[in-house]
Point group: C2
Chain length 123, copies 2
């Protein structure tokens, strides 16, 4: 039953093109809580019981975010007894986030420059 479900869903996923996978990964990353979960994990493996209290959200909410990251192949899930542990699957992800950061910082500094020019005009 479980295996069947997984098999069907993975076959379904196979049918998606590489572009759709890219979208899936990027969509999984485009949420503030999910980005913070990734930062919270860093290189460590942590159980849900550690992650949930670190964010002021319902357990079901965090669980769903973790599932989204897991299904996008960003996190890896490991079950140990009654606990579930997550970790960032591929450290390349941090390279990706660093590039995003550099783009974001550039954008912010550009806006700051524009703002100060406008401020001078107003004076």
């Amino acid at each position: 039953m479980y295996i069947y479900k997984w098999f069907v869903s993975s076959l379904d996923t196979m049918r998606r093109s590489a572009t759709n996978w890219r979208v899936k990964i990027l969509a999984a990353l485009s949420d503030p809580i999910r980005l913070e979960i990734i930062e919270f994990l860093g290189g460590e493996e942590r159980c849900v019981c550690e992650i949930v209290p670190a964010f002021g959200r319902a357990q079901s909410t965090i669980s769903k975010h973790l599932s989204i990251l897991n299904e996008a192949g960003i996190l890896e899930r490991r079950i140990d007894g009654k606990r579930t542990l997550y970790r960032v699957k591929n450290p390349r992800l941090f390279d990706l986030l660093r590039v995003v950061d550099s783009l974001a910082l550039e954008e912010i500094s550009e806006l700051k420059k524009a703002e100060s020019i406008l401020m001078d005009c107003v004076k």
Copy 2:
């Protein structure tokens, strides 16, 4: 009027944290059409009148996608006469997409492997 509007909106944007900028950039990228627009542009500068017919969507739809990419700081807009030209602002973006690709390809090959194992079991 226009400058005022832009000023207010940029101040508003300034208030967003770096994390929100990251989310904005990633959200702008997490759409198949927008990714294809970026690929279509490549390193070139193209006008909307070239982009619209390349996708089977309404002009208003493409225009909105271009605005989203522009507001996220991914594309740059230049007006020339009655035409509007767009280009990818920062070539680093392509580095980012290449990293996403490598993550996606890894995921796909992992699924293919799992699929073939399951197929063998079924035989």
